[in-house]
Subunit: 325 residues, 2 copies
């Protein structure tokens, strides 16, 4: 595809809307469609991303403490830098809060943002503080990026790998939505996602051709990576690394664990396409577990298999598809 949206997006109403906006902006829009925007400055490339978290949509105060809300909002934005293998440099925080919000809430949100920024080795350089009907936490992150890994470089024959294990955040959400308190490991996985900066750097050393972070669920984000790269993939669903808490919740729900893990969003794990030459030894030496879950193919589309039998790939989360949360 030519035109303003230089990196094609996968299906979904949210992405249809982004496509339509890009069409309206025409030549004003440059390079939309990756986890980060890239801005060339003084001979260097800066990766930039913005991530808006709204109370009642992205978080609930009865589920998370204000400090966790701040941490999670910042971690989600920083994860976009990991997804393009940019080194975190700086964060700007725009914070909206009700007029009568206690000072302690704002301090706790600030502490949480600070914690994520410190973990990432970045600094806080600015922001905006304003009144809003509910808590709004918006983080803009900037990272230095000598060799950005985009979504668009996957080639037939590449192996698809994911970092860590999937399903933990959905396990926590499922428990909360059923009126139960999540297990502590599921809750921790939801409240304290760890952006995969070190893993991203290691994946670059292995020659990563394309990457994306799993924010909308493996099913949805894989579609974005494949669309951007104009390729397809064969996935082996029984290879998906499943978080222990997800296995328990899936069993309670009577859902296959692989399907539960593949539709879990806000994972902030990385999905990467690595060259076929990648060995088991290379994967084992990674700073976080790396698991091969499939292979890139020339034919467009994602084909999921469970021990040789075709199965449906769960779709990703779409903010405008009416699923609600």
């Amino acid at each position: 595809m030519s035109g303003p949206l230089s990196t094609p997006l996968g299906p979904g109403r949210e992405f249809d809307r982004i496509r339509q906006m890009a069409e309206r902006w025409k030549y004003l829009a440059k390079g939309l469609g990756d986890d980060c925007a890239f801005v060339d400055v003084g001979g260097a490339t800066l990766a930039v991303s913005i991530d808006l978290s709204v109370e009642g949509v992205h978080f609930r105060r009865d589920w998370l403490s204000p400090q966790e809300i701040g941490y999670r909002a910042a971690a989600a934005a920083l994860s976009d830098l990991a997804a393009v293998a940019a080194e975190p440099a700086a964060l700007l925080l725009a914070l909206g809060a009700p007029e009568q919000e206690p000072e302690a809430t704002l301090h706790a949100v600030a502490d949480g943002v600070g914690e994520a920024v410190r973990h990432a080795g970045a600094v806080i350089v600015g922001g905006d503080l304003t009144r809003a009907p509910q808590l709004v936490v918006d983080c803009c992150v900037l990272g230095r990026c000598d060799a950005p890994v985009r979504r668009s470089g996957a080639r037939p024959g590449d192996v698809l790998v994911v970092t860590g294990s999937l399903g933990g955040p959905l396990a926590a959400l499922t428990a909360w939505q059923a009126g139960r308190e999540p297990s502590s490991d599921a809750r921790h996985r939801f409240a304290r996602p760890e952006p995969r900066h070190q893993a991203a750097a290691y994946l670059v050393r292995l020659g990563a051709r394309a990457m994306i972070d799993i924010s909308d669920g493996l099913g949805g984000d894989l579609q974005h990576l494949l669309a951007a790269s104009r390729v397809g993939a064969r996935l082996e669903m029984d290879r998906i690394p499943v978080h222990a808490a997800a296995a328990r919740e899936a069993q309670v729900a009577g859902e296959p664990v692989w399907a539960f893990a593949a539709r879990s969003g806000e994972e902030y794990e990385l999905l990467a396409a690595l060259p076929a030459r990648t060995t088991e030894a290379m994967l084992r030496a990674a700073p976080v577990p790396l698991t091969v879950i499939g292979v890139v193919e020339a034919e467009p589309g994602a084909r999921a298999f469970l021990r040789g039998v075709p199965v449906a790939l769960p779709r990703g989360f779409d903010h405008f598809a009416g699923e609600g949360r």
Copy 2:
């Protein structure tokens, strides 16, 4: 003041809160307190700012069209680049909207953002689209900045100048709040602020030592500039250039026109400190009207005079001071 907040802020609860956050972040916070953050990349300096606009707080749909809402949100962010004399390069748009919001609204907001970006000679490089209980328009802007003008460089003897004329946005707000339709010039001034990029470049050529954009009102923003520069000022209130619509509204309200103009926020005009050597001819050659309204003095504090008689300087708008809008 040493410590994380490298540029001191003026008085107000909003700024107390920013100070407290910076204290909590300690060494994590770098250079907060200017209109923009500055990030050094590859030998160049990038100015970055983030500006959060929330429906019901910063705009109302019965006052502005969706296109004007988008334009104004982007112009407000771009104005922060003008305030530090950075050349606009790129904008990221994070847009939140209710689930059932018509496509046409989002398209119109996008068109308005695009219009402001085109006027500024920048491009749109990324963003985030999400569900929110009301319209939330968050713009992050990046600009190239060889020689940033900060708030902190004013020195005793400098002259204080403002661009354009003040009071137009408050004239529109006053009419709306009284249930009247604003005059078309007042409405235009509110809905279509023009970030002063050309004026900023000209002020740099005149040797501008300190600048700020007037977003919280001349009274409030002058206090920030003086606090940052650790100086004071004498203001001649009868010299303040007053927008014609403001003069009319002030008369209706029985308020001195200078007081009305000095408390009007969201002007997006620039306030600058220029060297004492600045001549009338230099000011006349500017791309927008420049008016001398006072002089910088060594003694801290802002002292306002009306034809030689001391008067109170109206305070600026503070999002957490309970004035509401």
